[in-house]
C-alpha cells in the first residue's frame, strides 16, 4: 500500500515572478492509474517533479506514505518514486541496455540473484529482452523510451511517474505501454502519467486530471472529465474524436470508444 498526498502546493520558478502552480491539492492511492493532461507549459511536469523532491514547493507540502518529500533527497526517494523523464537521452548513460537496467537496483544494494530475476522480468515487460546487449544509442527513440522505463521499473518503486511516454510511439509501443500500466495496477502501484494522447488516456486510465495555467480544472474518471466540453476548451484540451462526434450529435451520454458509440447508436435507433 502506498499513498501520495499533495497539500496546497504552490510553486514559482526562481527567475520568474509569476507562479507556475497555484494551491494544488491532490491525493492518490494504491492501484490508481492517473493521467495528467493539459496544454504545453501549464505546469504538468512541474507538478510531477515535486513528487520525488526534484523541486520543493514554495508553500504547501507533498507527503508520500505520510513522510514529507522534503525530508529526503531525490536520490534517496529513487527507490520509492520512479521517474521516467520525457527525453530518454537525458537519463541513459551506460553502454548496454542491461547495464542500464542493473544500475538502479545494484545502487540500492539488492542481491545479485534478485537483480537477475528482476532484469529478466522487467526486460520482458518492456519488450527489451532481445536488446539487452545493445548500446542504448543504437536503439530507436521508442526503444530508448522503453529502456528508460525499464531502468526505473527495475528498482521496483511504489510510485511510477512517466512524462510523455506516448510521444512518438507507434501502435505496438502504445500497446506495450498499456500492458505496463496494467501490470502496475495489479501490483497496487500508483502510476502517474503526463500525456497528450487523448485516445490512449481514455483507454488506459482510471482517473484524469486536467490542468490549465497551474490550476486543476477537472479531476475524475474519463467519462466525467470528457463530459465537460466547455471546461476542456478552457484548458485547450481536445476530447478524443469519437467523443467529439457524439457531442456534435447532441448525445447526452459521454462516448469514449467506437463500441460505446455503436451501442448508443443502436439504442437510439431502436
Amino acid at each position: 500500500m502506498v499513498t501520495v498526498k499533495i497539500e496546497n502546493l504552490s510553486y514559482s520558478y526562481k527567475d520568474s515572478a509569476t507562479s507556475v502552480l497555484h494551491d494544488i491539492s491532490l491525493s492518490f492511492s494504491s492501484g490508481e492509474r492517473v493521467a495528467i493532461i493539459g496544454q504545453n507549459g501549464t505546469g504538468k511536469t512541474t507538478l510531477t517533479k515535486h513528487l520525488n523532491g526534484i523541486l520543493t514547493p514554495d508553500t504547501g507540502r507533498v507527503l508520500i506514505d505520510n513522510v514529507n518529500v522534503e525530508n529526503k533527497t531525490t536520490a534517496e526517494w529513487a527507490s520509492k518514486v520512479g521517474y521516467v523523464f520525457q527525453n530518454p537521452n537525458d537519463q541513459l548513460f551506460l553502454d548496454t541496455v542491461k547495464k542500464e537496467l542493473v544500475f538502479g537496483p545494484s545502487h540500492l544494494g539488492i542481491p545479485k540473484k534478485e537483480i537477475q530475476k528482476r532484469i529478466r522480468f522487467v526486460s520482458e515487460l518492456v519488450g527489451m529482452q532481445e536488446e539487452l546487449a545493445e548500446h542504448p544509442l543504437n536503439l530507436t527513440d521508442s526503444e530508448k523510451k522503453f529502456c528508460a522505463i525499464g531502468a526505473v521499473l527495475a528498482m521496483d518503486p511504489n510510485v511510477v511517474i512517466m512524462d510523455e511516454p506516448t510521444g512518438g510511439q507507434d501502435k505496438s509501443g502504445k500497446y506495450r505501454l498499456a500492458k505496463i500500466l496494467e501490470y502496475l495496477k495489479t501490483q497496487q502501484k500508483i502510476c502517474i502519467v503526463v500525456s497528450h494522447d487523448m485516445r490512449f488516456v481514455t483507454e488506459n486510465f482510471d482517473r484524469i486530471v486536467v490542468m490549465a495555467n497551474g490550476h486543476i480544472l477537472l479531476d475524475g474518471a474519463p467519462k466525467e472529465v470528457f463530459s465537460n466540453p466547455q471546461v476542456l476548451k478552457e484548458a485547450f484540451v481536445t476530447p478524443p474524436p469519437i467523443t467529439d462526434l457524439a457531442q456534435k450529435l447532441g448525445w447526452e451520454t459521454t462516448i469514449l470508444s467506437i463500441s460505446e458509440f455503436i451501442e448508443e447508436l443502436k439504442k437510439r435507433v431502436q
Binding site: F93, L94, D95, H135, L137, N138
Partner: protein, 202 residues
C-alpha cells in the same frame, strides 16, 4: 549501378559535419568547468570537448576548439583567460597529433598523451603567467602556492612552473580518464561518420 556515398563538399577546408561539432565541443569544455564549480571540485576539466574533437576531426580542429573555449571564457567569465587561449590551442593540436598516431587506442597510449599534454600545458601556461601576468594571474590557491615556493626558491619561473605542473597532472589525468571512458561509449555507427583512428575495434 552501385557507388560509395560521398560528400559533395569534400573540396572545402572544413566540412559542415566537422564545423557543427566544434561549438558543441566548446560547450562541453565549458560545461565541464561549470560542473566542477557546481560539484565543488577543485579542478577545471575543461578539455573534454577538445579531446573529443581531436579524436573525431583531427589536431587543427582540436586546436581551434581550445582557442574558442578560452575566447568564450574571456567574453562571458573573465578576460584573464584570453592569453591562455594559446595554451589551449597548443594542447588541442598536440593531443590531436598524438591521437592521429594511434595512441588513443590503448591505455598506455592515453597515459603518454596525458603526460605530454600536461607538460606542454605547464610550459606554455607558465610562460604566459610569467611574461603576461608577471607571475600570477590573480589571487587563488595556485597563486598562493606559487608565492610560497617563490619565498623559498626566489626563482619566479621555477615556482610558477612547479605549481602549474602539479595542478596540470591531476587535472589532465581526470580529464583523460573521463574522455577515454566517454569516447568508448559512443556507438560505432556515429563514429563511422568521422575519422577511423580512434580506438581498437571492439
Amino acid at each position: 549501378m552501385k557507388r560509395q556515398g560521398r560528400r559533395v563538399n569534400s573540396g572545402s577546408l572544413i566540412s559542415t559535419k566537422v564545423l557543427v561539432l566544434i561549438p558543441i565541443a566548446v560547450g562541453i569544455n565549458l560545461l565541464g568547468g561549470t560542473l566542477c564549480s557546481t560539484l565543488k571540485l577543485p579542478l577545471f576539466l575543461d578539455m573534454i570537448g577538445t579531446i573529443l574533437v581531436a579524436c573525431l576531426s583531427g589536431p587543427w580542429m582540436a586546436g581551434l576548439c581550445g582557442l574558442l573555449t578560452n575566447l568564450f571564457l574571456s567574453v562571458v567569465a573573465n578576460p584573464i583567460y584570453l592569453p591562455y587561449a594559446f595554451v589551449s590551442f597548443l594542447c588541442g593540436v598536440v593531443t590531436g597529433y598524438l591521437v592521429k598516431m594511434g595512441l588513443f587506442k590503448s591505455k598506455l597510449g592515453v597515459v603518454i598523451i596525458w603526460l605530454t599534454c600536461s607538460l606542454v600545458n605547464t610550459i606554455a601556461a607558465s610562460l604566459i603567467t610569467v611574461y603576461v601576468y608577471g607571475g600570477a594571474s590573480g589571487v587563488n590557491s595556485t597563486s598562493l602556492a606559487t608565492i610560497a615556493l617563490l619565498a623559498t626558491t626566489k626563482k619566479i619561473f621555477l615556482s610558477v612552473m612547479s605549481t602549474a605542473m602539479i595542478e596540470n597532472l591531476l587535472d589532465k589525468a581526470i580529464v583523460f580518464i573521463i574522455a577515454y571512458t566517454i569516447i568508448n561509449k559512443i556507438p560505432s555507427h556515429f563514429l563511422n561518420q568521422y575519422s577511423p583512428n580512434l580506438r581498437s575495434d571492439r
